[in-house]
Symmetry: C2
Subunit: 176 residues, 2 copies
């Protein structure tokens, strides 16, 4: 599995169930959301602008995409909604790893660059370093219509895991 | 990571938060439990008996252990409690895979043999085939005091995923 196959398999609409375990309080949080992942063309102005913001030649970008989500948590009444553009930049010498540019992170509003790699058994691993925290996501396909996502938020020194969460993402309107 | 390191790292008492996603009903279930994993000696009569039940020479067994759990689900008032003996039997020619004997499964009361392998990035993968279902567990260490476990129950033909669950297991009484 390479980044192109991974992103192409992810295009579509997904119904997500997410469970977050807040480790310190031993609290469970349940989130239901809809996620839309759409392909963008490499010549999309927002893709080019994002590459330029990171000082990267836009011709290095592969399979850029946009992810939008709208969800509800049982922890508070807030509607969780957002959208982000993601641009993979594979390493020239190793196609199974690279950078993932984003116009904003989940946890902070500043632009965040993240490192990804894909393991030999097809798990997409994404590591994002923030000022005071680090996030790791592991995403894999159980079958073409079901993705699992395990996310971990750690303190930036790597010692403490603050939140662990698990999403099962089922393709909406799967082939009948 | 080999099976001996994996089991030795698992010995101890764990506080588990488990979230199950029942896919058909889009239902969330939350389970809190305590898990005890203790090492057994290879000459333990229960270990020898289990090997014999599978027609396996007990000298092939490595790091046998016992796992006990006691938990509570928010779905019903039932107390979930149980105990099982597990005996790894590595393949003679590939130390990163083998059979895992159990005196009973999670889902059924009959004895179940399962196949395991350990991926290059240290994920212990266990596949158990039942009459009408198959279970896959992926377990890995985030750090020595935190294990993640993702379990999937599928119909035996592999098409339908019935339940997906995620456990975060935090070592109880970690080094202060």
């Amino acid at each position: 599995m390479d980044i192109t196959q991974f992103v192409e398999g992810s295009i579509g609409q997904w119904k997500s169930q997410r469970s977050a375990h807040h480790m310190i309080f031993s609290h469970f949080e349940a989130v239901r959301s809809e996620i839309d992942i759409v392909a963008l063309t490499p010549d999309n102005p927002a893709v080019i602008e994002l590459c330029q913001a990171y000082d990267i030649d836009p011709s290095q970008a592969v399979v850029p995409f946009q992810m939008s989500w709208e969800g509800e948590s049982d922890w508070n009444d807030e509607v969780l909604t957002g959208s982000t553009i993601l641009v993979p930049i594979p390493d020239p010498n190793s196609p199974d790893r690279g950078q993932l540019l984003r116009d904003r992170g989940y946890a902070e509003t500043m632009a965040a660059a993240a490192r990804y790699h894909i393991t030999e058994d097809g798990v997409f691993v994404l590591i994002t370093e923030y000022d005071r925290a680090a996030a790791e996501e592991r995403i894999w396909f159980v079958n073409p219509n079901l993705r699992f996502r395990v996310s971990t938020i750690k303190t930036s020194d790597g010692t403490g895991v603050v939140t662990a969460s698990f999403s099962s993402e089922l393709r909406a309107m799967a082939t009948p």
